[in-house]
Amino acid sequence: MTEQATDLTVRKALTVEAPQERAFAVFSELMGSWWPLEGKSIGSAKAQTAILEPRAGGRWFERGVDGSECDWGRVVAYEPPSRLVLNWQISADWRYDPAINTEVEVRFVAEGEARTCVELEHRGLVQAYGDHAEQVYAIFDSSDGWGDILDRYAKSAGS
């Protein structure tokens, strides 16, 4: 119980009807084709796409409609087609901050020739955001559509 209290790791898993290589490529090289940008860009310009440089040590950033770039973090591990680790270095006031170290690990497990299980873990949240939770909330709350969703979540979590 107490361990769970301080462990804010988010875990997700889903099955994708696509080969392992394809799932990995879409998540990494083709991130710009799916990453939800609306209301959540951190640059001064409206974000146009999300870019992940396909190599360990590569940058992970958004590019605005005016061509400006805004870092999100780094690629820690790039192991196609099975594993990807990213640093998400966005602070509570929604700016790039290299001191922030939340880590996103994504594993791609082949379940057949055309089916892949994708497991995602986002770690280090309490360290990064525990002391700025109200700011995080304000940011998410101000984004389109997030307030309602979060309120529903918060209600179910607190009731």
């Binding site: 209290a5 939800p36 525990g130 909330y137 979060l150």
Partner: protein
């Protein structure tokens, strides 16, 4: 609880207490020794955190021990849970689209 739990963390002393409890469950006296505020003030902060659903207390012998409430802390977690749920749904849709420009 809506956003009251997160608003409760707007005060720096309460955040310090919250972080202290994240590392180890504690009694009021222990917290008061480590915080630059009086014991009654610590009690008041704990009450706000408790009302906000972020900490719970439990009598252990003659001491009342405070610790983080897993459900309250889960609110923060829920942000990211929701975010990844949305992001991965979009990812799934993209991954399952027929490939065009890429070799298979």
């Amino acid at each position: 609880m809506t956003n009251s739990g997160l608003n409760a963390l707007g005060d720096p002393t309460r955040r310090a207490i919250f972080e202290r409890l994240a590392s180890a469950p504690s009694a009021v006296g222990e917290l008061a020794r480590e915080c630059p505020v009086s014991r009654p003030a610590v009690s008041q902060h704990l009450r706000v955190l408790k009302d906000a659903g972020l900490v719970v207390d439990q009598q252990e012998g003659n001491r009342r021990i405070y610790r983080l409430d897993p459900d309250g802390v889960g609110t923060l977690r829920a942000y990211f849970d929701q975010f990844w749920g949305q992001a991965l749904a979009a990812f799934k849709a993209a991954a399952e689209q027929p490939t065009e420009e890429e070799p298979t």
